[in-house]
Symmetry: C2
C-alpha cells in the first residue's frame, strides 16, 4: 500500500483542498460567525446599523435581528443604540465587542493557515 497515494485520486491538475468554517458558541449555540462579525465591523466603521446593513445587502430588520440575537447571548451588550440627545442618537460597538472582533480577525488568520497547511499535507 506504500506506493498508493491520495494524489492518485486526483484528476490531473486538480489538487484537493481542505475547506472549513468556524464559529463561536455560547451555551452550546452558534452565536458568532463570519456574518455577525462582518456586521459588527461595519457598525463600528459606520456608526450606524442602517448603513452597515446596506453595505452588506441586508435589510435593517435582518441586521437588527442578528445584533439582537448576539446581544441576548452575552452578559453585556455588543452593540448599544442611543436615541435622541445632542448628537441625535447613534450606534456604538462596545469595547468588549471590539475585543471580540480583534480576536475573530486573528482566529481567521490562524484558521486560513491551518487550512493551507492541511491542503499541502493532503496533496503531498
Amino acid at each position: 500500500m506504500s506506493a498508493v497515494t491520495i494524489k492518485s485520486l486526483q484528476h490531473r491538475g486538480l489538487p484537493f483542498q481542505v475547506g472549513g468554517k468556524l464559529w463561536i458558541e455560547c451555551k452550546g449555540k452558534k452565536f458568532f460567525g463570519p456574518g455577525p462579525v462582518e456586521l459588527l465591523e461595519l457598525i463600528q466603521k459606520e456608526g450606524s446599523i442602517i448603513k452597515a446593513a446596506r453595505a452588506m445587502g441586508l435589510s435593517y430588520k435582518k441586521a437588527w435581528a442578528i445584533i439582537d440575537s448576539a446581544n441576548r447571548m452575552t452578559a453585556r451588550p455588543l452593540v448599544i443604540t442611543q436615541s435622541g440627545g445632542k448628537k441625535g442618537g447613534g450606534t456604538l460597538v462596545t469595547d468588549e465587542a471590539k475585543k471580540l472582533i480583534i480576536y475573530h480577525r486573528s482566529l481567521r488568520k490562524r484558521f486560513e493557515q491551518f487550512l493551507k497547511n492541511e491542503t499541502k499535507r493532503l496533496n503531498r
Copy 2:
C-alpha cells in the same frame, strides 16, 4: 480598553467555545466530509454497503448515492463492488480510499486540537 476582556461578555460559568467543521473539496465542490468518511470506514469494516448503511441508519439508496458521488469526483474509485464470482461478490474500499481515511482521521485530531487551543485563547 485594556481592562475590558472578552470574558466579561460571558454569562457566569459559561465559557465560549470555538466550534467548526472541515471538509475536502474537489473541483471547488465539497466531496468528503465526516459523513462519507464514516461510511467508508464502515464499508471497510463490514465489507458491505448494506451493512454499513444499516449501521449509520441510512437507506441503501442514500448510502450508494454518497459513494457514487464520491467515486465520480475522483480519478479512481474509492469503493469497488464486485458481483458474483466464487465468493458471491462483495464491496471493497480501495487502497487509495484507505489512505484518505487515514489522512482524515489525523486531520480530525489536529482540528480538535486547533479548536481546543482557540477556545483556551478566547477565554483567557
